[in-house]
């Protein structure tokens, strides 16, 4: 559906399939990064409590000594450069909301499978409403 709508949204002369690949690349790398980072933060525990107990330095050390955090940051960095590349070729009004909308849905699926989060009907409806809302906001 995204590919079919691209000519109307304007891909700036970029092949619609290439534009879809760029946006898909941002969504995939971003989802792996978000899920890995969330797993890392859950394994560390509440940062506010750690900061209250060990100070800001203790909280930073807790984050920086978690290997999964670096896996997450590595993929988020990849997603960042994929977004820079997409913004260089596509308009912000297309690349930003399209990748953000797609990432919301892929994150909900990945969080349910890998993080065993309770993605109930309320969260699915919320993710889809926000997804459509972000897309409409680009118009």
């Amino acid at each position: 559906m995204i590919v079919l709508m691209m000519p109307a949204l304007g891909t700036g002369g970029v092949n619609p399939w290439l534009a879809a690949a760029m946006i898909g690349g941002v969504a995939i790398t971003s989802t792996i990064g978000e899920v890995s980072t969330a797993a890392a933060m859950k394994s560390i525990g509440d940062l506010d409590e750690i900061r209250a107990k060990s100070g800001l330095k203790g909280a930073i050390v807790a984050v920086l000594t978690c290997p999964m955090f670096f896996v997450g940051v590595g993929f988020l960095a990849l997603a960042f450069f994929a977004l820079l590349l997409a913004l260089n070729h596509l308009s912000l009004s297309l690349a930003g909301p399209a990748s953000a909308s797609l990432t919301l849905v892929t994150n909900a699926v990945a969080a349910k499978i890998f993080l065993k989060e309770n993605v109930d009907r309320r969260r699915w409806i919320s993710a889809i409403l926000v997804c459509i809302g972000v897309y409409l906001l680009a118009h």
Binding site: A39, K42, G96, V119, V130, G133, L136
Partner: protein, 128 residues
């Protein structure tokens, strides 16, 4: 959570402005992406995104990913309303519809629990 919502879209906007001022970057020269990091607008965007990331990590340490992500999308609404009332930009009916949907979605998810209760705390990590 509010800082996450404000810093992320501002950072993205700065990045977009910076990237538009640079010549087109091809996949044949990926190192040009590294050089782009030192452009003033892109550096300002990165500073905003670092602030966003610190707040985002704190939120993820006490709430589910599927709770944090829709909630932080409220930042798009904040930016649109800033454009309307601060910069006097026109907001089309499509955008008002988008603002309404995001607001309903965020309100909907925030009514539920922020964290999935786990019987075994070790289940919180990624499963093989």
């Amino acid at each position: 959570m509010a800082l996450v919502g404000i810093c992320a879209p501002l950072g993205d906007s700065f990045l977009a402005r910076g990237m538009k001022q640079l010549p087109a970057i091809s996949l044949d020269h990926p190192l040009a992406l590294i050089a782009a990091v030192f452009h003033p607008w892109i550096a300002a965007g990165i500073a905003m995104l670092i602030c966003f990331f610190a707040c985002y990590l704190t939120a993820l340490s006490w709430a589910d990913l599927t709770y944090v992500l829709p909630t932080t999308a409220f930042g798009y609404v904040i930016i649109a309303l800033l454009g309307k009332f601060w910069l006097n930009e026109q907001i089309s009916p499509y955008r008002w519809a988008g603002i309404l949907l995001i607001t309903i979605g965020v309100g909907f998810v925030s009514q539920g629990p922020s964290l999935t209760e786990k019987e075994n705390p070790e289940d919180a990590g990624v499963q093989p």
